[in-house]
Symmetry: D2
Subunit: 338 residues, 4 copies
């Protein structure tokens, strides 16, 4: 079978090597999945640098956490799946339900353990979720990391109410999923971008408030204006340099700020007074559990939500896909067909 | 000004008397509202019998809790409203936010205190909520009791998630609002009725599961079938005779049953084992606070939800409206224009 | 090794047979525990009748869910335990954390699977919790079912606040643990019993309100009197005949009723109006997860709580222990030393 | 009657002037309280500088939020109180229950409105709470701001469980109340101080973990050592310079950080990665509502908790009291008898 091997730390064009290896055989409780598609996240660029927790420049691994495929064989004691089932893999293979534990960290696909960019991949039967009927493998492959992060932020730590307003920053994967998921729960969305073209597309996706932060560098004030001075109920703070203080300013009294994607060591000079004075709650969000993934899949199936795919690459074009993601030109997810 | 006076305990045709009284003047912190519409709830029939808590056959009162109108005058220290504002009155005038307290009970409009079926009505400035722009007075007048009860059940005691399934029993006001509100939050709805005609209308409103409980008296089993044997995530149990045990049976393990509208002394023979064995949570729901009403109004405004009005009456036809409601023929709300 | 084999459905004196079998060997991920003590619950009487879910008069099994012992051997891949560790077994072996699922039911020790009344017992490494340092094996053996049920009711579904009042019914295992656990969280306890002698002992354990329900059959009114008419914040309703309606009456507006131990088919004639009129929440409680067990163990360790043991039996006296439990004369737990 | 008038911005010795004014008369819904004691908070030093939100160097006001006294007269429509009742005033007079709203900010005693340092003071009947029977006026006067802040952090935003560990920073008022309140709920406490003498006193109050941050500047590592590397369940972060990053480091995965008292513009250079990587929740806490105050009073009454008073001053010594508080030598609360 074909698989990609990542050499963290090398230049992207040389870091991703296509190899042939033996197809594995499922052991007890294991499921063999023929992977059909994978998707990239910003996190995968950090992994490629060897800077992701649990990775290093010494250890080679199969990259990417997000993949979808079809069950082709099952081991003994597998009760949940049978050949033909269409599945995605859970980002954290060991975080099944309940509280996140430090030990779960090591089970992150494409980080602590090998990822999904291979023709075949073994998973524990507890580490998979069913793909909604209306989605293709490529569409489903976009969900396990970015969409689940957005779902976790919007629905699992605190309840998003119909009629509330959510602020999403930029047009990356998590933000665009938050835009879509918030709307299917009856909430309104304000979005920021540096590009009027992207804002136009965001408006087509349903955002009712648009802020070009290049034209309005004090974008928190623009957000307050759009909410009659009240501020938004929830901010999906995906963490560019210097955004956190403005996110605090843009939240309403009693509001929620979901802190996501702070993988790199950007330090912000923060005046924490608004957290106290406005009684804010700041939630750290790090993808989610298998149980959350299952709940999200039900929500996506019920609503017919379709992920936004920007561009497709083949497994042979993996390096090109990484370079394209790094360019920041995308709007929506970058997918690799396997 | 015109007002209706209710003599609880009399036959409906004689119990509701149209009278002329003086128009009141707002005191400190009070708001005078020109009422334009009111709506009826099943509870108002109980009040008319003198059987509602806080009412008696001796005390006459202005009936109905649900009304909408326009602010026409304000007293001193009124900061929230000004003439021209379109408002509904809160069912509980004194339950502003936070926990329900026994003392709040006495502030129920059309029960512990006079209701809204009058041309003019004084309210404390804290007992009103703004009408969404897309709704008429008649549409808004349907919301304070039945819709808020459904909102409270779906969103305030536990979080309804996109993709969850809600079971509504029958086609009364609370059930139809629950049908509409659950959908705008991304949930799916199963509805029951004794009439295929009504089920057809419920399907047009978006219900994806339909059960005629006359044809399928063991409707809990039909609901289990519709959910692959899992049961629904939440039941809106509005309390006909003998429904509670089946509602418990129709809920999934870990599910929620919202108990609503148990105003009369129907006793059920209940086997409480499913509550324990399935780890259910049963929530008693009794309308809601002013803060909940405001949150619901935002949700309705964001979604453009339009209440279902069955029939309109004039204030002179008040008795006819009551008799019509009692007949049970309606689908949606019965409204009185003032 | 010695083990007890239960023949459900036989008279107690003949149903429990002492046998010799081979000592098992731990497989991958398994732990061998030398059991030192077990304790009985009311549920074990139901199992002995063959009436417990998942049991039958045909299937023989090792009885009892509650046991404590010492790790003596571990299989491959066991990372959590090593020989010498003192452990209790979790009631549900498969409910690790998060939501209860129907499949977890079959993993109940001494019910769906063999229990702990044996000299040696294999467990998955995920199905155990560490014993607090201040407790003996006998004391620890009382905790997995009754204490965890009380913990779950008091702390896991809703927050018990310091200064709140909890009502416990009777002096069975769950009620006495609820008495102790509620107090260590700063709450006050009202207890009922049919015996003044038992009430005296309950007072020594810290209960500040005492009601003899034989002398005061309308004990709900006595509870209201003890709370200045407000009612208690939480009721631990362990389910004798006819108690549920009085529990609803004894709860404050907005209060919580935890429904526990409804294993047998007692039907109550219930007027559900108080659930709605007082906005109560009724929680069905069925023991708890391994994660809850671990949290409880921390709470017990921090507080130095010591379980109340009524009487000790040897494994050879197992039938006597069952008969004694059935007599209802005990105050606190009945323990079997192995 | 005597009252103190504060001139914000003046040196402390000149800023606090003793004056004679007329005793007010209660209007509708108002209660006249003979104040017997008041207590100081760090916040009152900020007010004295004119730097507190809603204050200025131009506006003179009666200072201090925390006071206790006896009801001596009531106005019309007062149903909750009668002469002789012993009461404390709520920090926020208008935040009764439910969500904090921006408008509530202006109702802070000794800030947006006049405070309690006067022989007599009028309050709305809704702005008071009853004093537990075991507390003197001086003891009760310490509770409304610091103790309620600690209560809010520990019990109202998330549930503190028996057996959890709470970290308190320094020995100020909020931290010492958090130490006492956490213990009465069955939790363990780790405390930091720059003084071994103070740590000794903290140990006498029950803290089981002690860290001298002068001797161990990397005190977060000492806290991790005290918790077997896991970190604490909750941090009461009262906000000295540079503490926030260490508080994040000292919290367990999934832990809670309560951010309190950030009144001044200290900016921290924060690396927000731990918030995300450990899935922390950061709660901004700003005193609390009247309903929270009532709940805390019940908890204090049930437990017999006695606040720690460091030193008492007379109203004539008000300036001395402020200067003493500013010196930072106190351990526990500084009280003024009126």
């Amino acid at each position: 079978m074909k698989t990609i091997q990542l050499h963290p730390g090398k230049p992207l064009q040389k870091a991703l090597e296509l190899r042939e290896t033996d197809t594995p055989v499922p052991g007890d409780g294991q499921v063999l999945v023929r992977m059909h598609a994978a998707s990239l996240n910003f996190r995968d660029l950090i992994v490629a640098q060897g800077a992701y927790p649990g990775t290093s420049k010494e250890r080679r691994l199969i990259p990417l956490s997000d993949g979808a495929g079809e069950v082709v064989a099952i081991g003994n004691d597998v009760t949940r799946w049978q050949p033909g089932d269409r599945v995605v893999a859970s980002f954290f293979q060991d975080w099944l339900d309940g509280r996140f534990q430090p030990a779960h960290m090591q089970s992150a696909l494409g980080g602590g353990v090998d990822g999904v960019l291979a023709e075949y991949r073994l998973f524990a039967q507890t580490g998979l979720a069913r793909i909604p009927a209306h989605l293709s493998f490529e569409q489903a492959a976009t969900l396990p990391c970015a969409a689940l992060t957005a779902w976790h932020a919007l629905f699992e730590r605190a309840a998003l109410l119909p009629g509330e307003t959510v602020l999403v920053l930029g047009t990356g994967g998590v933000s665009m999923f938050a835009l879509q998921l918030a709307q299917l729960a009856g909430a309104k969305v304000i979005a920021t971008s540096s590009s009027d073209d992207k804002l136009k597309r965001v408006a087509e996706l349903g955002a009712t408030g648009l802020v070009n932060y290049r034209k309005q560098p004090e974008w928190d004030k623009a957000v307050l204006d759009l909410t009659n001075g009240h501020g938004v109920d929830q901010v999906i703070e995906v963490g560019g340099a210097g955004t956190f203080p403005r996110s605090l300013a843009a939240a309403r009294t009693g509001g929620r700020v979901s802190l996501i994607g702070r993988l790199t060591g950007i330090e912000d000079r923060i005046d924490p007074r608004p957290i106290m004075a406005k009684g804010l709650t700041v939630y750290g969000i790090y993808v989610g559990s298998v149980a959350m993934l299952e709940r999200m899949m039900r929500g996506i199936e019920a609503s017919g939500l379709v992920p936004i795919i920007d561009r497709r690459f083949t497994i042979e074009q993996t390096s090109d896909a990484y370079v394209y993601l790094e360019s920041g030109k995308h709007f929506g997810k970058v997918v690799i067909s396997i």
